[in-house]
Amino acid sequence: MSILVIAEHDNESLKSATLNTVTAALAIGADVSVLVAGSQCQSVAEAVAKISGVTTVLVADNAAYEHQLAENMLPLIVELAAGKTHLLAPATTSGKNIMPGVAALLDVAQISEIIRVESVDVFERPIYAGNAIAKVQSLDAVKVLTVRTTAFDEAAQEGSASIEVVASVCDAGKSRFVSEQVAESERPELTSAKIIISGGRGMGNGENFKILEAVADKLGAAVGASRAAVDAGFVSNDMQVGQTGKIVAPDLYIAVGISGAIQHLAGMKDSKVIVAINKDEEAPIFSIADYGLVADLFEAVPELTELL
């Protein structure tokens, strides 16, 4: 087995999703290289070299890779795929953007969002928004996989891999980065937060999310939302947890004013401990919550802030 993992980073720091992906790779085999493609991304390469189990870090450092545009990344990864049996990336928006094209150019399938490695060619993945789990065998010589990061632990960072420079540069010239609007927040990112507090339609409006933020600040938590709250225009879509939003699995998930549509449950039901606060005691969210509190959220949430 010879495995290549595509690192996720912002040219300065390594995203933790890469650590989970390396764990998935090590479940397949021991020969794991990691590609860091970016611009002035030496610090990322050094961080990757420390991931336990990684043998080689391949660094493609060029302006063409700064924003990891698919058109430029594809030829690079396809070139590095020679001799590899498995190509893995985290199932983030970046990994999902790039890997299917890599698979297509290699004339192989991609197996999306694996949650378990059974053997070198058999993997499990959720389908129908997690309402079913498919066990899939790859029949291709090269397996292209994206990894649902919440299903794998983070790899330790006690290694010392060698760093190799990849010289090839590809600028397809078909796409150009224009701008980025990153939601600025002092709070952790949803997908890596240990605690998340999310609001649903029951919040009534966007202004009311302030009471969730107060709890989040006390707990060092991220703030999320259900699709209903996003569709109602309360908060922006990058806060959405669910089948069509972000898939999360924190240690503690507090669902406030969320009824528990299948759509939402698909995005958070793997959380270790789930708390539901809802005034409707028949709300489906209670059927999966470890601790349910039937109460008016506008009373209970401020009280929670007080008691923390």
């Binding site: 150019l105 796409s175 601790y291």
Partner: protein
């Protein structure tokens, strides 16, 4: 500019999915089927481009069994001009779909192709990206805004942590995210009119694509069940349990 848009026939998103007892798949007998929600957004975007005078023709494509004609008729009722069905009884993996669509693109030469970012049955999120790789067209995935400016398109993408805007050289492939638009409903007169719009049926053989099996489905099982826990009486008890029982705060 011609816009090509794809639609997939999937289980209706309101239907509760049940795994077959022999673990061979999901039970699709007698369940309501519908157009994949992300494909509805794709169709809507194509029609809006036509209404804005940017698109001159909207061609809708589906691939699969004969019954996919229902979803194509829906797209025609919404405003697409004509439809193509690539009909096959064979199970189509994403790469097969992308190869078939690449052939259709060769014939139709659209300026833009719009696909849903993923289908809510297999949740693959692959076809648009594969199609871009196979055709060499630039891709704007998970789009929440598409602006055509001459021979370029500005696509705003929903990425982890925010929004990213990229500029692509036309022709392009876009995949839709939720906030791109809110799809309309078809009116009754338009549903009647759609019955007379052209719908062409092709086969993979006619397109010169052989369907290859890249993966084998071994089993489909229900996810592990999560049991409900307890109800707490008040906030104080909740905090106490989280601290001392669950030990998560």
């Amino acid at each position: 500019m011609k816009v090509l848009v794809t639609v997939k026939r999937v289980i209706d998103y309101n239907v509760k999915v049940r795994v077959k007892s022999d673990n061979s798949g999901v039970d699709l007998s007698n369940v309501k089927m519908a157009m994949n929600p992300f494909c509805e957004i794709a169709v809507e975007e194509a029609i809006r481009l036509k209404e804005a005078g940017i698109a001159t023709e909207v061609v809708v494509v589906s691939l699969g069994v004969k019954a996919c004609q229902e979803q194509l008729r829906t797209a025609l009722a919404l405003g697409a001009d004509r439809a193509i069905l690539v009909e096959t009884e064979q199970e189509l993996e994403s790469l097969n779909v992308a190869k078939l669509l690449a052939k259709i693109i060769e014939e139709e030469q659209p300026g833009m192709v719009i696909l849903g970012k993923q289908a809510i049955d297999t949740d693959n999120n692959q076809t648009g990206q594969m199609l871009a790789a196979l055709t060499g067209m630039a891709q704007g995935t998970f789009a929440s805004k598409i602006e055509v400016q001459g021979d370029k398109a500005l696509v705003t993408r929903e990425v982890d942590g925010g929004l990213q805007t990229i500029e692509l050289s036309m022709p392009i492939i876009a995949t839709t995210d939720l906030r791109l638009n809110e799809p309309r409903y078809a009116s009754l007169p338009n549903i009647m009119k759609a019955k007379r719009k052209p719908l062409v049926v092709k086969t993979p053989e006619e397109l010169g694509v052989s369907i290859k099996e890249h993966t084998k489905l071994i089993a489909v099982t229900p996810p592990p069940e999560r049991k409900g826990g307890i109800k707490v009486a008040n906030v104080a008890e909740l905090v106490e349990k989280l601290k001392n029982e669950a030990k998560v705060i």
